[in-house]
């Protein structure tokens, strides 16, 4: 196990940023700790400082802004699940959060941690991808904002540079009439990782239908199925043949691994089936929205 030199819990963001900017100290940010502590329990590594971000109030806040919702990096999954504004405007995100592990983990784990841990099977990421989330990144030298679909580099790897941290996730308010949902398939009914996770957002605009499709556990990072989105773009109506065509495109575009939860062929087939079903399901709902 890695030896932990110290645990610090700054209450001021600038203090925190200067700690992680310090080139002398190998530091790891921690919020809920549910991934980090497990990792460092077993993996040998250098001496590290643990920097707890939960002392900084604003990182734990969900803030409604004029053009979107800002979710602090230390907002816990249980807070997402209980949030009225999430339930009303972004229920797909709560659908992702509520199927992560079990209640005890969700009481500790944070959405920022789920994103920064960058697991291919993270349940909150496909919903965030279809919601056009942006990663708001801060360091001692300033801030930058990156669309979440450019945030991930590989399993456990993100674009965050040394000295940088995820400050918040920002999600634009949804297009009127948009519907979205996340579905997860796992061998166990609870306390399990996704063998496939699928989020779909579907809406109408002046040019016809538009969709965003996010996939988990089928590639080194959570990904968008852009070729499948293209199939849908501009179509007049969602039906089972369009859904199937898009889903086949989504499945064709992935190269999953085989592991204890399922082989590559199985994952491809499940992507096809779940994307089809979600599209058909959302197609009916987006129609209802329009009629209403």
């Amino acid at each position: 196990m890695a030896s932990i030199k110290e645990v610090v819990r700054p209450t001021d963001l600038q203090d925190l940023l200067s700690i992680i900017a310090d080139r002398e100290v190998e530091s790891r940010l921690v919020a809920g700790g549910t991934d980090l502590l497990l990792k460092y329990r077993t993996q040998p590594g250098p001496e590290i400082s643990i920097v707890d971000i939960t002392g900084i109030t604003e990182l734990g806040e969900i803030i409604e802004e004029s053009d979107g919702l800002r979710i602090g990096a230390a907002v816990r999954l249980v807070d997402i699940i209980a949030s009225d504004v999430v339930a009303e405007r972004f229920p797909v995100l709560a659908e992702g959060a509520v199927v992560v592990a079990g209640p005890q983990i969700r009481n500790m784990a944070t959405v920022g941690g789920n994103v920064c841990n960058a697991s291919p099977s993270a349940d909150t990421i496909p919903p965030l991808l279809v919601l056009r989330a942006e990663a708001q990144i801060v360091s001692a030298s300033g801030r930058r904002s990156v669309p979440l679909d450019r945030f991930f580099l590989g399993p456990g790897k993100t674009i965050l540079d040394r000295g940088e941290m995820l400050e918040a996730l920002w999600i634009p308010w949804p297009t009127t009439g948009a519907v979205a949902s996340y579905t997860k398939l796992s061998p166990r009914r609870a306390m399990d990782l996704a063998v496939v996770g699928v989020a779909v957002a579907l809406w109408n605009n002046s040019g016809g239908l538009d969709a965003r499709i996010g996939l988990g556990a089928v590639a080194p990072t959570p990904i968008r199925a852009m070729a499948a989105e293209e199939v849908i773009k501009g179509s007049v109506k969602m039906d089972s043949s369009l859904a199937t065509e898009a889903a086949q495109m989504a499945a064709a575009g992935i190269s999953p691994i085989s592991d204890v939860r399922g082989g590559a062929d199985y994952r491809k087939k499940m992507v096809e089936r779940l994307v089809t079903r979600l599209l058909v399901d959302l197609g009916e709902r987006v129609g209802e929205q329009q009629e209403a």
Partner: protein
């Protein structure tokens, strides 16, 4: 009456409040921590090991190596494993100690002031290995190109073969109207008990090496420790604190010998401090044996009327790197391939094969699950081929009192499989063919596509021996003390039998209260300490209630005689020995191999989502002959526990072993069923056909409900989809692939 009541478990308060101490909870003043160093080499020669760097680590006190083990060998049934791998450690053993044959062969025990120092010391050990060619699985090992035990004079990895030669095969095949062939693949299974291995050891003021650890047989642990360390048995004491599950996984040694060796080495250096080892989950999964992998090919012939007229089979059991109990598990597998059926003609060869893989060993069912998977799938396939009801075809073939078993000797009296099936059919209303209502809930938010759901029902049955078999010495001792003046007021029991979580000690005291004829509140016991109790034999083979009950009855009779003679308190000791059994004849399999058996039959109802391959089990009906339920609630606990464990075996648990290494030694990678994955309902049907030898008629029952579950699920899946699956676990991807191949999905 105390026998037959739901007496509250004597350990329940302590376990609910946390007062009960498990081995991992034990500590002591001045305690040292130790770390077991695994070889991490499935097959390699140790060239050198330098402990200097480990000693240089701050806090490291001592390092135990092979040189510290005077007779460096271990084995429950044959001494084929060094206790510690080391260059010059073979000593008086004939098992070369410088070869690692398993990734979890132990090479050193690093003892330090703290666990962190012990871990750092373990990392600092400098070991040079020369990797050797692998025979990591049955396919490779059967070629004998690489031998796991070249020191073995038979010069083959296939080191044990058993044979059945019964009747006239030619005549049998000539009578057969249908012939069903199958090749079955059975997976490893991990015990996954709640409490990983741990223990505490010290040398007491009298120089007795004392080990507190979780096991299944205190006296066997003592014998193995004494053997390897060349100590007289009275100089070794084994004590079991609370045990967090065992299931066969604690029959073999994990920490017992090395803890004793560590305490002894410290003592010899004048350091009389206790030493403790606590394994984490990964160490537990890598470091102890598994249920055996097996491959079994078979061919059954049946007449149109359903009677089985010929059985031919060849079975291979992956023993892993060391025998452990493999030769005995093999025998049980061998004898259950023909199920609880009266088969006139049989030709069966069963082999145990060494591989450079995790050893196979005892696990609830002990070969029965593998053998019965074959018998029950075959019987169900024959029924399908003859368009017969699976219950009806069994009735035609079942064993009865007076019938010869496959070993060509009469079954022990009390054969009750037909009664068990009768009760199963009645309670489950099998003949009604009610619609099956099971929801497959595994796709979150969407739910299953209703048009993708198929439902089915399947059955299977089995027999399993109670107690040791085939000539293995079998006995159980009890000591009873009666207290009072004019009449017996209190009774005390001293017994070594291990309560591994099944509630054995509560059952013992219920039987004592019944035998003495005083209230349950007036009996007490002290348990599982070699210094105070006689040899009970193991908590295994579904034997403990049966054997301990007989020993308690006998000891109570002895104590009552002393009471009548005027002794106050009155003491009685008794050693129960059941009727002797015989080893199988090596060429024909003939022999009186059992003295008692249990019988079980199950029906499961399932739904399968043919789009995702997910199988959901609805209701399970389990009829098991317990002879007499000493405590019906504990019986139900055993049935439900066994079925949940079997559910994992049948459906979810997939140990990945590649090139001799376990790739998923975590509970996030090895998926035991969660509470939301278990069957919706388990209906326990306790059948009570008295065993002629059982105390109050009781039979052993703890393993039996496990055994028919997997083939019953396979049969239900076939009923639902028309597809047979000859390999488990039925994980979603395997099910989907099978359905796709058959054109169902």
């Amino acid at each position: 009456m105390t026998v037959g009541t739901n007496a509250r478990r004597i350990d329940s308060s302590d376990k609910v409040t946390g007062a009960a101490l498990y081995p991992g909870d034990l500590s002591a003043d001045n305690v040292l921590s130790a770390k077991v160093v695994f070889s991490d080499r499935p097959h390699a020669r140790m060239v050198s090991m330098d402990t200097a760097a480990a000693f240089a680590v701050d806090g490291v006190v001592e390092v135990v190596t092979a040189a510290d083990i005077p007779l460096n060998e271990y084995g429950l049934t044959m001494f084929d494993q060094p206790v510690l791998i080391g260059v010059d450690g073979t000593g008086k053993s004939h098992i070369p100690s410088n070869i690692s044959r398993w990734e979890a062969d132990q090479v050193a025990i690093v003892i330090a002031e703290t666990e962190a120092s012990a871990i750092a010391g373990a990392r600092a050990l400098t070991i040079e290995w020369e990797d050797l060619p692998l025979a990591p699985d049955l396919t490779a090992a059967k070629t004998d190109e690489t031998l796991v035990h070249p020191e073995n004079p038979i010069n083959s990895n296939t080191y044990t073969t058993l044979r059945i030669r019964k009747g006239d095969m030619e005549a049998g095949w000539a009578e057969a109207d249908v012939v069903i062939e199958g090749t079955y693949h059975l997976p490893h299974q991990e015990h996954a008990y709640l409490q990983p291995e741990a223990g505490l050891a010290y040398v007491d003021a009298d120089g007795v090496v004392t080990v507190k650890v979780a096991g299944q047989w205190t006296h066997e642990d003592r014998e193995q420790i004494a053997h390897a360390l060349e100590l007289p048995e009275p100089m070794v004491r084994v004590i079991y604190p609370a045990i967090g599950g065992a299931f066969g996984g604690r029959e073999d040694m994990s920490l017992q010998i090395v803890l004793a060796a560590a305490a002894l080495k410290l003592h010899h250096r004048g350091i009389d401090r206790p030493v403790r080892i606590v394994w984490n989950r990964e160490e537990s999964i890598v470091g102890h044996h598994k249920r055996h992998r097996a491959e079994i090919a078979t061919r059954w012939g049946a007449r149109k009327d359903g009677s089985i007229v010929a059985v031919e089979a060849e079975a291979f059991l992956d023993a892993g790197a060391y025998n452990y109990t493999s030769s005995k598990v093999l025998a049980n597998l061998h004898l259950t391939i023909t199920g609880p059926y009266n088969i006139d003609n049989a030709h069966i060869d069963s082999h145990a094969v060494y591989t450079h893989s995790v050893p196979g060993g005892a696990f609830r069912g002990f070969g029965g699950p593998q053998g019965s998977f074959v018998s029950e799938n075959q019987m169900n396939k024959v029924a399908e081929a003859l368009d017969m009801d699976p219950i009806e075809i069994r009735r035609i073939n079942l064993l009865h009192d007076g019938d010869d078993f496959i070993t060509q000797r009469p079954m022990p009296d009390g054969v009750s499989i037909e009664t068990v099936i009768d009760e199963l059919v009645e309670v489950s209303e099998w003949d009604q063919r009610r619609p099956i209502d099971v929801v497959v809930p595994n796709i979150r938010t969407l739910g299953s596509n209703p048009s993708a759901i198929r439902t089915g029902r399947g059955m299977a049955c089995a027999l399993k021996n109670v107690g040791f078999t085939m000539g293995m010495p079998e006995q159980c001792e009890a000591t009873v003390t009666l207290r009072g003046d004019d009449y017996v007021e209190f009774a005390e029991l001293v017994h070594a039998g291990a309560d591994v979580g099944q509630g054995a000690h509560t059952a013992f005291l219920q039987m004592l209260a019944e035998a003495v004829d005083i209230p349950f509140e007036n009996v007490t016991g002290s348990f599982s300490d070699t210094a105070t109790s006689g040899n009970s034999g193991s908590a295994s083979a579904s034997r403990l209630t049966f054997m301990a009950g007989n020993s308690i009855q006998g000891a109570t009779e002895e104590a009552k005689k002393a009471w009548i003679d005027g002794d106050r308190p009155a003491l009685g000791h008794f050693r129960y020995v059941p009727p002797p059994t015989e080893a199988m004849d090596p060429t024909t399999g003939k022999g009186n191999v059992f003295f008692a058996l249990g019988y079980v039959a199950e029906i499961v109802e399932i739904a399968v989502d043919v789009e995702t391959g997910h199988v959901r089990v609805g209701t399970v009906y389990c009829a098991v002959d317990v002879g007499k339920a000493i405590n019906p609630t504990l019986v139900r606990g055993q049935v439900e526990g066994a079925i949940v464990q079997a559910h994992g075996y049948a459906l979810t648990e997939r140990l990945r072993v590649k090139d001799g290494r376990i790739e998923n030694p975590t509970l996030s990678g090895y998926l035991v069923p969660g509470s939301m994955d278990t069957p919706d309902r388990i209906e326990t049907i306790s059948v009570e056909v008295a065993d002629p030898l059982g105390p109050w008629g009781a039979r052993g029952m703890a393993e039996m409900p496990f055994i028919p579950y997997a083939p019953a699920v396979v049969a239900a899946l076939h009923d639902a989809t028309g597809v047979w699956f000859d390999e488990i676990p039925l994980t979603p991807d395997r099910v989907l692939a099978g359905l796709k191949e058959a054109g169902v999905s």
